[in-house]
Symmetry: C2
Subunit: 356 residues, 2 copies
């Protein structure tokens, strides 16, 4: 059994993290949490994009007091991110959050940790311990062993209080360090793992780094929830996360766009069409392969295996549906015809022609 | 020994593909090859971005005749992409290309394949056999076994003519199929492998799919050259390829940008600074970690481990160099100061503080 399935289940709002094959997508708001309206608005956008769990930073008591009102207005589990101050944790729990992120070893007094643990027990909410390679105690070298040892220090505190509803993350900005730390953690702890490459970078390079780090671990059966960290609009984090899970077969009802690299064979403006269709597909919840191909060499073959596809030529294109040529259409009609085909497509009907 | 190291070496212009630990980055132009000026211009841009091998589509004899002039004006190996027509292959070889991409099984007459093989032998240039899941013969189902069997059919033809300077690709648009096909090919053939996910999609989702598919294989020691296929400007393909190789430790002299996800703690416009610095770093050939951090929680820790870093606050930032705080700077100075620091940084000096 993989770490994903064998991990101890914990409850995060309406979801069970660990002990199953499901991998949840999460993100973090970049609004001021105390600005309830802006925060709720962003959480709703994230939810619509496919975010399943959302985390907010709680910097002070004003942020903490806002959590109840935020929680009331959203439909996905809410996680409070807290550093150092146990009173913020207590207030967040009081406000009804579904999980807190807190490292107990950073709270000086054991009695204060105990208060937080008792409050979590009473509300049945888990604690995520988040170890970050960049902030290990005592200037420890950032190695997988030291990261796991640091996690164990925090875990031991909670376990000594009879608390086991624990989620762990061991993020690093170095992809290889991150992979090794999670592999070691998967062997060491029975708890669900929250995967992420931290400080991954801007949207394009950060998505690549995250896809490799998170993807290699997920493919090995490690990880129960993922967060792609990008220095950009968090909506892109959700788009990246869905893409990662979809490619690994860990998420269905996500459309897949197949489009060829542009080369000297192309005779129409396919980059534009591909981008517009990609944008449209972001809001479509169907398991559907849409192919946008530039030419007659690879086009018809790939488009034939797709659920819906076009292979473009000079001023016109051929429309395919489930392996059959439907009709020729003009270049100017391509976008509208594809959108209509996508809307009409019923992904509950499986077709024997459907391949890779 | 991995497939990468044990594969039979072949010569591609100034490079040796296979039989070593090097992984070459390649791309394909999207200009009309017969438009020499536009094609050369794009190849120069690709070369400057880090492209090491470039492929051009040869659709007709006018394209083929242009190859010699293109070759004269560029500094990296040139590959001619040819389908079906052996005369285009002969002319491309005559024009001095460094490699051809051609599937011999698609050329009806054995004597014509023989002519191409003899011409390649005379010039010491290899042939890449490119199998694509979407265009297997006889409507074969797209499985790893059928893809490898199709490759073997082409390989057998060349081997029967005493030709072994072969490179293979087994691309699929389905990431899992692509991974399994290459794994099986690595066990089956002694030849260098050209990795790629075909028809991967637009820049963002295509880069994610490619990073996972190519990255998982490279991490297993499979692959000698990679091509990231994106429906966008091919420069982005190079940027993605460099990012993939860098994260796996397969390429040095590539800067690494560490920047945190934006969250409710941020008090300055770090997305803008991160994006501008990322653009600047594209042209920098140094092994350097640059950190752009938003706040005091993770910022100083991560920035400390970077070669150069800033941790921002309200209207000002702290500049770090190799683990030491250098000075406080104004927010308005951050970009210029970072650029100056990057320019002055000497990556030949290693620092014991440098970590992940």
């Amino acid at each position: 059994m993989t770490q994903r399935e064998s991990s101890r289940p914990v409850t995060v709002g309406k979801y069970q993290l660990g002990g199953n094959t499901k991998v949840y997508i999460q993100s973090m708001t970049n609004t001021y949490t105390k600005d309830v309206e802006a925060t709720v608005k962003q959480i709703k956008q994230l939810t619509e994009a496919g975010c399943e769990i959302v985390r907010v930073a709680v910097l002070d008591m004003v942020d903490a007091h806002a959590l109840g009102e935020i929680k009331k207005q959203i439909s996905i589990p809410l996680v409070a991110d807290i550093h150092f101050d146990y009173r913020l944790a207590l207030e967040a729990i009081n406000q009804g959050v579904d999980k807190i992120r807190l490292n107990p070893g950073n709270i000086p007094k054991r009695e204060h940790v105990m208060e937080v643990v008792e409050a979590c027990k009473a509300k049945n909410i888990p604690i995520r311990i988040g170890v970050n390679s960049g902030s290990l105690p005592n200037r420890m070298a950032p190695t997988p062993e030291n990261m796991v040892a640091t996690a164990k220090h925090h875990v031991d505190i909670l376990e000594s209080m009879g608390f086991y509803d624990i989620v762990l993350s061991l993020k690093a900005t170095d992809m290889n360090l991150m992979i090794e730390a999670y592999r070691l953690a998967a062997k060491t702890f029975p708890y669900p793992l929250h995967l992420g490459v931290t400080e991954a970078g801007t949207a394009f390079s950060g998505a690549i780094k995250s896809a490799m780090g998170i993807g290699i671990l997920l493919a090995e059966g490690i990880g129960n929830t993922i967060r792609v960290s990008l220095t950009d609009n968090p909506i892109l984090e959700i788009q990246a996360a869905k893409e990662i899970l979809k490619n690994l077969g860990l998420k269905d009802k996500v459309p897949n766009l197949i489009s060829c690299p542009t080369c000297g064979r192309i005779q129409y403006d396919m980059i534009d069409i591909a981008k517009r269709i990609e944008q449209y597909l972001l809001k479509v919840n169907k398991t559907i392969n849409v192919a946008i191909m530039g030419c007659a060499v690879n086009g018809p073959g790939e488009a034939t295996h797709a659920d819906i596809g076009i292979a473009g030529g000079k001023g016109e294109a051929i429309l395919f549906r489930r392996g059959k040529i439907i009709k020729k259409i003009k270049e100017s009609e391509v976008y509208d015809v594809l959108v209509e085909e996508i809307n009409n497509f019923d992904d509950s009907i499986q077709d024997h022609e459907k391949g890779a």
